[in-house]
Amino acid sequence: MALANEHITAAAVAAAEYPDLVRQYQVTGVPKTIINETGEILGAVPEAAFVSQMIAALGAGSETPRPGETNDGPA
């Protein structure tokens, strides 16, 4: 995604090394993807679904899932 658009940055974070981030983002399973601090994608999802959820996270607020919940897709 980061290569496709200069507004997008993508980071892989080794969960075992950053316990404070694990707590901050409530990471209880991996992979867990955080979009702009509040959007969450649990598990690995197909590319099209990822793009949808990533774009949905831009309208932050009502559309983003609350921690522990997920919109759709396999865990």
Partner: protein, 136 residues
């Protein structure tokens, strides 16, 4: 997932330069040395891969330029900064991801479907993606 031999062969065939910008700090970073060793091993697989190292505390300008606040951190840079970062020592599966991102950056192609590319191209706000992973 590709085998280590496949990845090594793919890296050996790189035809574009890729720079790994590595951020470390002198104290309080237990995984910085292992991370640097992994970066060195990856860079040794291709003449096209170079490594630059900066200290988070001493090299503040570079840390700000790359948006680095935690170490160890690796920024994967092609013709320009790609916005791709790895935080923590890249073991196991994360090493595969690092190598694949090097290959992707060198190719100059995002590797997305046409449909995804169109949708992603429309994004005009900053998006920060953080993927939490473990080595296995």
């Amino acid at each position: 997932m590709r085998s280590p031999a496949d990845l090594e062969a793919a890296l050996a065939g790189l035809t574009s330069p890729v720079k790994l910008v590595f951020f470390t700090q002198t104290f309080g970073c237990e995984t910085c040395l292992p991370a640097r060793q992994i970066v060195n091993r990856v860079a040794a697989l291709s003449d096209q891969i170079t490594v630059e190292e900066y200290n988070l505390v001493i090299d503040k300008e570079q840390a700000e330029a790359y948006g680095i606040q935690r170490v160890p951190a690796i920024a994967v840079v092609g013709a320009a900064d790609t916005g791709i970062r790895f935080y923590g020592a890249p073991d196991g599966h994360e090493l595969v991801s690092l190598v694949e991102s090097i290959l992707l950056v060198a190719s100059g192609e995002p590797g997305l479907s046409d449909e995804s590319r169109v949708r992603v191209a429309d994004v005009d706000q900053p998006i920060e993606i953080q993927v939490f992973v473990t080595p296995t």
